[in-house]
């Protein structure tokens, strides 16, 4: 059993303590917006916020996540109001296949909350998610658009 706080809701999940947070979120909490890409914290498709910090959820256990405030892509918007990163992603038509974009958006949202006006170097350092479609040019442009708003 694990008690997790995801998107402001409490979940009591029937999982072993060493279950990766990713699978508890997807299979037990039923929130499938968070994606599986590699399982070894390389690609970032599973990025969520843990106490506001971008975290690759495949690489940590539910035991480590207990007591933390977890936000997934489903919880990023405030009700019907999209987060500014989601809005920018729509305005700039960023996603292609879209599969990595949940993780990409969560990583960017965390970067912007820490550094509202990131430089290109800040972006290069913080955003290390893999996107096989190659949306990086639009990602960078969208970040700068948000930062300059």
């Amino acid at each position: 059993m694990a008690n997790l706080t995801i998107n402001g809701k409490n979940f009591t999940l029937d999982v072993e303590p060493d279950t990766p947070l990713l699978w508890a979120i997807r299979e037990n909490a039923g929130l499938t917006g968070t994606k599986y890409g590699c399982g070894i914290a390389q690609c970032g498709a599973c990025t969520v916020h843990m106490d506001g910090v971008a975290t690759r959820s495949c690489g940590i256990s539910v035991a480590e996540a207990e007591g933390k405030k977890i936000t997934t892509i489903e919880g990023l918007a405030s009700g019907a109001t999209l987060h500014k990163v989601q809005e920018a992603w729509i305005a700039q038509d960023v996603p292609q296949c879209g599969y990595c974009q949940s993780g990409m958006i969560m990583a960017v949202a965390a970067l912007l909350s820490e550094k509202p006006k990131p430089t290109d170097a800040d972006i290069d350092e913080a955003i290390t998610n893999i996107c096989r479609c190659g949306t990086f040019q639009q990602v960078r442009e969208a970040i700068h658009t948000i930062a300059s708003a």
Partner: protein
């Protein structure tokens, strides 16, 4: 808001589907009093024709037969239909008709295959006719109601106007009546000069759900009572499953069943995927790896190298007498290049969900070829077509991998052993990396001859290596030859060679290792563009000539090739000195009906760290349906191609693939992304592809710039093997 509608995925949809015997899942027919049959969508709205459903609220649902994997053709195809339909673009939605429906309706939606950059170029004509036919029927229905000639009515923005009287109505109001009319026989399409929506970079239709996590990919399918499966296939292709010790994992949490999948694989079915994977990892498995376990990358390379110098070869393109001209040349230049296996590594690993019951087999998956997936379901389930269907979902990447149906077959074979229980099969990244359909391995020897005046008189290009068609589509071989091997090297067709030489010989010594090849974005363009365009750069330097001027002289009879090359050269400022420390390279190629070129600017640190600052790219695809998406495809293709160039390379040890995840088969990150400046320059009169052609030119442009920077010629891919990385 525009929306792409995913197939319903609840039990109720399935029950409704089975009740509508013979008519597919989401479609019903009704027979109104006295009129012809009206075909209805799942919500009861009438089809005006197979491509267009109109709801009473004026929403237009456009049917899309091809798959959407990020390349944007869902939006482009909808633009083509909407252009002729004259509907309100802000009220357009899309849906995928299922392959089973296509069979039932005698392939009314045509080909579902989404590869070879064909999505738009192979169906633009009939989807536009679908839109135009529907428009004519809607106008006729309004004219009938008003008792006026249809010729006095016009349509725009989903509103029909009777010009003399000023009366108006909407598509939603006349759709029912239109659906009962006989379609017109004579349908004229607009002149491209009159296009208003086609050619505009409108926003994609599938974006909103992708930023909120609500898009349902295959991996996200949920069905009542569903169980999850993890699978291990024999690590060596050609080997078999020998045995496994089920008792060792029988008590592990969540495990429901351990099943053999064909002769080569074993799967664990559990309540969750995590439990299935954990148990599978603990399952003792013995493999019979067979003869192929003796094969290694070194043994493959040796075998391919032997093909460079002699023995039989298929001739793909020739003129003059290259061998004689080389023998008499004043100077010859020779080089050997190679390009490795590459894995697709779609971000969403392979998966499919199957439900097999006594009388039906239904699958939910992302596929690039709905009809091939459907055929795989029939074969694996051994049920007739009318009892099978495939629900197509958006793909978390395709790049050619999801045109194959191995994962669909596996899911059905597992579900068949648990009738009545939906089974979601998901591959781990490790399974995905080691059981790909890999970009084939080749080597290439190029020999060129100059006369005493430094004119290029002969080129002999001999490719040795693997054929894709010999493995995946042997029926497409031509007297044993694989024509696809010569992409971009042909005398004519939609992938023509861009140079004219007095003596030319391009041939292929086919050598097929056991590693199963596949169509990897750009396919044979990836290596052929490097072979030709890097060697042309070598020849220019050997002749002491500027690489652009050297090419120009050979391209007089290839104006479309030359136009894109000159466009990138002009924009990057070729001929002017680049900034201090910046070096430039050029490349061009033609494939999938389009002409493309790239000019790269790079800097190099310590001879081993490459910073790609900027790539100017040009494409002439004939017509550009959505230039904004074309720009994204160009930049995206460079990420995929440069990832393969720098980091890629699948290697073989003891017959098995060595790379297992992104730690050993890396992919480019944002820090390495160059600024890509695209020139979309459609010249009209033909329809070329977009997703793939540009992938070939970034690599040689960067490699040629590397030579300009260092004087060192790189002829082997991937660069990581030479300790060269992104800066």
């Amino acid at each position: 808001m525009n929306k792409h509608v995913a197939p319903k995925m609840n039990r109720r949809a399935f029950v409704i589907g089975t009740a509508a015997v013979g008519t597919g899942l989401a479609i019903g027919f009704d027979l109104p009093f006295g009129g012809p049959t009206v075909v209805r969508a799942a919500d009861g709205s009438p089809e005006v024709n197979a491509w267009v459903v109109i709801r009473p609220d004026d929403t237009v649902v456009i049917r899309i037969a091809r798959s959407e994997m990020g390349q944007g053709s869902l939006t482009g195809l909808a633009q083509l239909v909407a252009e002729e339909l004259e509907c309100d673009w802000t009220k357009v939605a899309t849906e995928f008709p299922s392959p089973g429906q296509n069979v039932t309706r005698k392939r009314v939606w045509g080909d579902y295959s989404t590869g070879g950059s064909r999505g738009i170029r192979a169906s633009h004509d009939y989807v536009r006719k679908g839109g135009a036919t529907a428009r004519m029927m809607l106008i006729q229905a309004a004219a009938n109601e008003w008792k006026v000639p249809a010729a006095e009515c016009t349509a725009a923005n989903s509103i029909i106007t009777h010009t003399p009287s000023g009366k108006t109505t909407t598509y939603g109001k006349v759709a029912e009546a239109a659906a009962r009319l006989t379609p017109p026989a004579d349908v004229k399409l607009k002149d491209p000069r009159d296009w208003r929506l086609v050619g505009k970079g409108v926003k994609r239709l599938d974006t909103p759900d992708k930023v909120t996590g609500t898009t349902v990919y295959g991996i996200d399918v949920k069905l009542p009572g569903m169980l999850n499966a993890a699978i291990k296939d024999c690590p060596v292709t050609g080997g078999k499953l020998k045995s496994y010790d089920e008792a060792k994992i029988a008590d592990m949490k969540g495990v429901k069943k351990v099943v053999k999948v064909g002769d080569t694989a074993v799967a664990v079915v559990a309540d969750t995927f995590w439990h299935a994977k954990t148990a599978l990892d603990a399952l003792p498995i013995a493999w019979d790896e067979g003869e192929n376990a003796k094969v290694s990358s070194a043994s493959i390379a040796k075998w391919l190298a032997e093909g460079l110098d002699g023995g039989p070869a298929y001739v793909g393109n020739s003129n003059g007498d290259a061998k004689a001209a080389l023998a008499g040349a004043a100077k010859t230049v020779e080089a050997v290049y190679n390009y490795p296996y590459q894995n697709h590594a779609t971000m969403e690993p392979m998966n499919a969900t199957a439900l097999y019951t006594a009388d039906k087999c239904e699958v939910w998956c992302g596929t690039q070829n709905g009809e091939a997936a459907f055929a795989a379901v029939l074969e694996a389930s051994e049920l007739p077509a009318e009892r099978c269907d495939v629900n197509k979902l958006l793909l978390g990447g395709g790049f050619g991998r999801r045109g194959q149906t191995d994962y669909v077959r596996q899911a059905v074979l597992i579900a068949k052993q648990m009738p009545g229980t939906p089974i979601k099969l998901l591959w781990t990244r490790e399974e995905d990396m080691t059981h790909g359909r890999y970009h084939p391995v080749t080597q290439c020897k190029l020999t060129a001859g100059f006369d005493a005046d430094n004119n290029l008189t002969a080129l002999h290009m001999r490719i040795s290596g693997q054929s894709i068609l010999a493995s995946l589509r042997p029926e497409a071989l031509v007297n044993g030859m694989d024509p696809a091997t010569f992409a971009g090297l042909n005398a004519k067709g939609d992938a023509p060679f861009g140079y004219s030489l007095p003596n030319l010989l391009i041939e292929h010594s086919m050598r097929n290792p056991h590693i199963i090849p596949g169509f990897w974005r750009g396919v044979n363009v990836n290596q052929n563009a490097i072979y030709v365009e890097c060697f042309m750069d070598e020849l220019a330097h050997a002749a002491g000539q500027d690489p652009l001027e050297f090419r120009r002289k050979l391209m007089k009879d290839h104006p479309k090739h030359l136009a894109v090359l000159e466009a990138v050269a002009e924009k990057i400022g070729w001929g002017n000195a680049p900034p201090q420390g910046i070096y430039r390279g050029l490349a061009h190629f033609a494939s999938y009906g389009s002409y493309v070129a790239a000019a790269a600017e790079i800097s190099v640190t310590d001879g081993t760290k490459i910073k790609v600052h900027r790539i100017v790219a040009a494409t002439d695809p004939g017509y550009a349906v959505n230039p904004a998406q074309i720009e994204r495809q160009i930049a995206g293709s460079f990420v995929y191609g440069l990832s393969g160039l720098f980091y890629g390379g699948i290697t073989v040890k003891d017959g098995a693939v060595e790379q297992t995840n992104f730690d050993t088969y890396d992919s480019m990150r944002i820090a390495a992304m160059p600024q890509v400046e695209s020139i979309v320059m459609p010249s009209g009169g033909f329809w070329g592809g977009v997703g793939e052609p540009t992938i070939g030119v970034a690599g040689p442009a960067v490699l040629n710039a590397y030579f300009a920077a260092t004087g060192k010629r790189i002829r082997s891919v991937p660069l990581r093997d030479q300790n060269i990385t992104f800066a």
